[in-house]
Subunit: 412 residues, 2 copies
Amino acid sequence: MTWLDLPADHPFGLSNLPYGVFSTADSEPRVGIRIGDHVLDLAPCAEQAGMESYAVWQQTSLNPFLALGRPAWTAAREWLVEVLTNPARRDCVEPHLIPVDQVTMHLPIEVADYVDFYASEHHATNVGRLFRPDSEPLTPNWKHLPIGYHGRSGTVVASGTDIVRPSGQRKPPTEPVPVFGPSVRLDIEAELGFIVGGSTELGSPVSVANSDDHLFGVVLLNDWSARDLQAWEYVPLGPFLGKSFATTISPWVVTSDALRVARVPLPGQTDPTPLPYLRGEPTDDGASTAYGLDITYEVEWNGTVVSRPPYRSMYWSPAQMVAHMTINGATLRSGDLFGSGTISGPEKDERGSFLELSWGGQEDVTLDDGSTRTFLEDGDTVILRATAPGADGTRISLSECVGTIRPAVTRT
Amino acid sequence: MTWLDLPADHPFGLSNLPYGVFSTADSEPRVGIRIGDHVLDLAPCAEQAGMESYAVWQQTSLNPFLALGRPAWTAAREWLVEVLTNPARRDCVEPHLIPVDQVTMHLPIEVADYVDFYASEHHATNVGRLFRPDSEPLTPNWKHLPIGYHGRSGTVVASGTDIVRPSGQRKPPTEPVPVFGPSVRLDIEAELGFIVGGSTELGSPVSVANSDDHLFGVVLLNDWSARDLQAWEYVPLGPFLGKSFATTISPWVVTSDALRVARVPLPGQTDPTPLPYLRGEPTDDGASTAYGLDITYEVEWNGTVVSRPPYRSMYWSPAQMVAHMTINGATLRSGDLFGSGTISGPEKDERGSFLELSWGGQEDVTLDDGSTRTFLEDGDTVILRATAPGADGTRISLSECVGTIRPAVTRT
């Protein structure tokens, strides 16, 4: 029980404690945690409390803290719980609490490599039907490995950054050649983003069981997608400009520790069973090292919740994604970010992209104000939100991931 | 004419002056240029010469220098030529010359985003025939845009780094399901790598004509490729683990300034003509802003030169790659690296990958010692080399890109 004046069911209570990078009007960006409706400025608090490693939080990104690895993350969490529950510690905490409405949030990490997976069977099936109507919706490899590809690290942006409609080539089916102009099928992808800490050596794969050493935490991720650019460019080497103009992540990194009670079994991987390097093993508490996450997600489009994608329906575990990504000897670096891929459940109102919600632009989505949409229009705002069960029986918040569409920059 | 005792036709003469990052037995990595058979330690030389900005070279990567942009690069080159040709400057240069055999070379840049293009028509045609025998070899988009995708920045390694054979999933045609194990079709891709300097703002495309502001220089790049892993994984989102285990680049960055006289017209883009944003414009000297490069390349396999891919045969210009990569508003960052894609000419002995040289493993490549190869065996060494015409009528060297294959790490 915290000595702070905090309702027991606050979504940023003691069982959450997410990390972010904030600044105030007269200060530089640095690391804080969110507790209730305040941000705790970690470095001066830790310095006052006599922690030697406080300087790791006096930084403009979480990367130096990520580099310390799992033992330091665990120790930091234990220390945080101690100072927030022991009334004798009030004096080193209270001076460093800043109301959340007085801070500006920044990108929490300096992104090293960004990988995007494709781990929802429902999403991959829907997209397969829409992009390749004459083939089986799932490619033959889909249930054997978590398909992924690299995205552009340099255009991962903080929540709230406006998204300029991208221009590029698209080839309408009625035209013999491609045309140039602003995307007319601008879309979202509602995902989770996993933030990696602790570097590895070249040639040293990370097993499913050891992935926890590198999974620091989770953000909400919107992989903005220009479907018309993507459809024309993506064969044979995959998506490029249809994705690389912007990817938004939420400001608060909810730790794997906070999400431990949200772990659930995967929906099932029996037909086929994955190769041994991708298999989970039983844990002491009867669960599996290849776990799912019971995270409830919502997609709000101009004020209307249009979808509630259930993360627990995802086919592949984040632990399996780590094992796959490194099985060829590729390194991990602190600050690596990987997306789950669009989260779509089996139901229509559980789809995590507008491509799927509008079934390729063929079916209108009706918003609460009576307007209709297929893809994004200029001025539209999308807010992603999610919650998960917390250790104290309440629900913890993953905060929000927000973006508003601005018109394309005119080009002749 | 330099006052150094240097043969007029030295491949690292005054018209070359490539940048790299070196260390000696008792010193930290820092920036130098190569002149003849020496490395000039730039920071102390510049400090002694009274240059204010010398500290930009007292760094472990070229990135801070890259961030200064084109005017600073031009000024640095003019200063270098001055101190190396004016005998009165001997005293601030000579104490800082280190024999090249006494230095260790490092990765010259901290790689921001790594993109790999696919700009050789001959390579794309060959690979199309091999990977997709039932389709047209070139996809319909190929001549409309320079196809590219993002690779893994974190596994770009310095020349000389051993390459551990990657393990992963492959699906032999005779098997109903994929098998796990070391790659049996390990290959090279002989490319040029272009190094970007000077950051741009989100939403600000760089035109073909302005790409020179951001093209700092060129390295040799070996995009090691596990063809069996790649073939099984790459549909629908492109290559991932088949490439992400390692990419080697050469130590010396030959500047765009040094390569100015190597510019040649592209082979031709008339059927179709690219969209306006990809078109070159005439320059004052009658050339085009969308230029090719007359770089002569060779691929040596265990001491035998097996191929001489001609860079002048490449279909797309590096300037067009920059324009395409940013047309959707994506930023450039100092330290971005993009590969040309495998360089293959029209002739068999001009192919830049062993996949093509062995025609998918069906035709043996015979080495000078009488041994035969299709793909790489453990212990094999590949050296890439290239030269280009220099301003003084001699040829300048792009140095070497070297890697030796080590056995796969055993895994159950």
